[in-house]
């Protein structure tokens, strides 16, 4: 113990000295007030000011430019998506045979837990932040976010958060399984999550807590930006739909994430300092479920509202028509935002809560389907009689609408108490939320990436690969998650590493067949993502340069938004003969290093 402390102290001291040394290299903290310490106010300052960003890796570590931070978020989210996706593939491979093909129970539970947390907190929230950071300031005509440094802090909290969430996987081999990955499932229900001695659970909880702090700082920043940094011509009446959804999402984050943070701290205290927040003699184990889902349900709308905004923005562009009923799309966004805080107990119908309360939660849950349906009808009517152009981003938008309908309708069924009594904790639930998280949120993210690819890379992606990506994703998603809906009807419970149970629980042959179908679908989906990665990487490096500020020919329909106008200006400024000081996004010129 003492030896360990000494090693840690040494390590920390080295780290701190390293940080200080690095900081003195890049930052001279005596320079802020030229009056103190000698006051060499003259001369040498003027020489350096005219370049925008330092070069190389230092640029990315120190940037506070919203576009750079957006790209950092994007890269981070795509890496997290790959990690979470590989975990999903392991889960699916395990379940091809009833006895489990590749993993032990503990490994399965670890991977299941990490898959969920990774996808929701390390992929879902950051990919949305990526689009918002890059494009909200452009769309509303702001120079940058309201608080650029806080923006950077919010991003840099995420890498340590990811390392903590995955810490158990790295530490188990080196600590002889003293620290293992958490096996609490992403819902972290007490008493299980209090009783698991494993310190890996603490690390995972801390990682989640940190990611929540980052999300909250980001939300405050977006609210401040959209309220105060708009260009004079952008008012509430012509604010674009994506900004509206980000504004609503940020408000939801502001109310939901601090609550999760507090609940996590309570859980940590229960685990480490023997408080009794969630113990039977204290608040009781059900308290956790209330706190968690009071955050957890808004969280699903935190994840889905901005993707809805993306689709509402992109889909009209390729339908040749303005978004049908724009106002009602905005109102329904706000309505969902408000209602989402009044439905949390639909995750707890089977916990034996008061039936009158339960009925009221059922009513609100059914009501929240109305604004969602309003949006769906608006998307369909936008396309109706439109001049559709089936580009890759458009295909993903249409896929979104289709998958969202299935995901949404299955959700309405689950909101009905008698149906939920039967389907709760079965694969039906898993199928339902994956139609949304993969089929809708994932698809909208792809639509956004393809739509704006010319803006953030200056190049064009490869169309054929893009379409292959779409069709593999669409077919794979529907096979995988439709099979899961069927599994749920057959009675297959969720969160099991094997399914060799009593035939009275579920008809085993059919269950095995549908599990295998789901795995085949997941493989198709996986292959589709290989096309995606290949396309993005190769096109970014060597795709044809975009010459035209309007690569989608939106001008003709009068639908060229501000971000493409900004892009046009960049293209003009970038052409070499022009004034090099306009080079806003290019980093330092190559020749003068250091």
């Amino acid at each position: 113990m003492v030896a360990g402390d000494i090693v840690l102290t040494g390590l920390m001291a080295v780290l701190l000295v390293g940080v200080a040394a690095l900081l003195t290299r890049v930052e001279n903290w005596r320079s802020y007030t030229p009056l103190a310490g000698g006051g060499a106010v003259t001369g040498d300052e003027t020489a350096v000011i005219n370049r925008e960003k330092p070069a190389g890796i230092i640029r990315w570590l120190t940037t506070v430019d919203h576009k750079d931070i957006g790209l950092l978020y994007g890269v981070y989210a795509v890496i997290a998506f790959a990690v979470g996706g590989i975990m999903a593939m392991l889960i699916r491979l395990q379940l091809v045979t009833p006895a489990g093909a590749i993993l032990g129970n503990n490994a399965y539970n670890s991977i299941l837990t990490s898959h969920g947390i990774t996808m929701l907190f390390l992929f879902g929230t950051p990919i949305i932040a990526a689009f918002a950071n890059y494009f909200i300031p452009l769309l509303i005509g702001a120079d940058d976010m309201a608080f650029p440094r806080i923006n950077a802090i919010a991003f840099w909290i995420l890498p340590p958060a990811a390392l903590l969430i995955w810490a158990g996987f790295f530490l188990a081999p080196v600590t002889e399984n003293m620290i293992e990955p958490a096996r609490t499932a992403w819902t972290m229900y007490t008493p299980l999550s209090v009783e698991q001695q494993n310190p890996g659970v603490d690390l995972m909880l801390l990682g989640l807590h940190l990611s929540g702090i980052g999300a909250t700082m980001g939300a405050i920043n977006f609210i401040a930006t959209i309220f105060t940094e708009r260009d004079g011509e952008v008012n509430w009446a012509n604010l674009d739909i994506f900004s509206w959804t980000i504004l609503t999402q940020s408000a939801l984050i502001l109310f939901a994430f601090p609550l999760l943070g507090s609940a996590i701290v309570m859980l940590l205290l229960d685990r480490n300092l023997s408080t009794t927040f969630f113990a039977v003699e204290g608040g009781g184990p059900l308290l956790w479920q209330h706190l968690f889902w009071f955050f957890g349900h808004p969280e699903v709308y935190i994840l889905v509202l901005p993707p809805m905004g993306l689709v509402s923005l992109i889909l009209p562009k390729f339908s040749g028509r303005k978004l049908f009923g724009f106002k009602f799309v905005v109102y329904s966004t706000l309505a969902i935002g408000v209602l989402s805080f009044g439905v949390w107990a639909h995750h707890m119908f089977s916990t034996g809560m008061d039936p009158r309360l339960r009925a009221s939660f059922m009513a609100v849950s059914l009501a929240i389907a109305i604004p969602s349906a309003v949006k769906t009808f608006n998307w369909i009517t936008t396309m109706w009689n439109g001049r559709l152009r089936l580009t890759t981003p458009m295909l993903f938008c249409i896929g979104f609408v289709s998958n969202f309908i299935i995901g949404g309708v299955t959700g309405v069924f689950l909101a009905s108490i008698p149906v939920d009594m039967i389907l709760h904790d079965t694969y039906y639930v898993v199928g339902h939320f994956h139609y949304i998280v993969m089929g809708a949120i994932g698809f909208a993210a792809f639509a956004g990436i393809y739509y704006w690819f010319p803006v953030f890379t200056g190049r064009m992606y490869q169309r054929t690969l893009g379409k292959a990506h779409f069709w593999f994703s669409m077919v794979g998603t529907n096979i995988t998650f439709f099979a899961m809906l069927a599994l749920g009807y057959l009675g297959m419970p969720r969160r099991y590493a094997t399914y060799q149970f009593d035939g009275a629980i579920a008809p085993l042959t059919q269950v095995a067949t549908f599990h295998q179908l789901a795995t085949v679908g997941a493989l198709i989906l996986f292959i589709g993502q290989l096309f995606f990665v290949w396309n993005i990487v190769q096109s970014w490096l060597e795709g044809p340069k975009v010459e035209d500020g309007d690569p989608w020919n939106l001008e003709d329909d009068g639908m060229l938004d501000r971000e493409f106008q900004w892009f046009e200006e960049q293209l003009e400024a970038d052409s070499p003969e022009k004034d090099p000081s306009l080079l806003a996004d290019g980093g330092q010129e190559e020749q003068d290093d250091s």
Binding site: D5, V26, A40, T62, I153, L164, P199, L203
Partner: protein, 131 residues
Amino acid sequence: MAEEPGLSDQYPTASPWPLFVALGLALSEIGVFVGLFPVAVFGLILFGGSIAGILTESGYVERPWPTLLGVGVVLIVIAAAFALWQVPVTDIALSNVGTGPLFTRLVAVAAAGAVMIAMGGVASVMEQTAA
């Protein structure tokens, strides 16, 4: 020291501090919650130092050192308040460091606060006398 402008004076869209604010926050949380004394102390110092740095850089304060001192005071006040509220008075003794889980953590927080007060104090005085 020559008065060359720092990185963030040179480049309007760069700052070295956010990275370290985030790292400091992460290390502090790990240290305090998992109960790793040295990680808690160094994490909090990094966190407090970066806050002082970032506030100075963005022009909210003129010098970093008083902020560092202030963060140190806040940490000590918090630690003392928790100790008085949750730890029996008879257990508050240096010999008990390492035994009571809460008490040890509070000492770590207070230690970090003390280091910051010392650093901020000494640096302020040095600067005054140099000028």
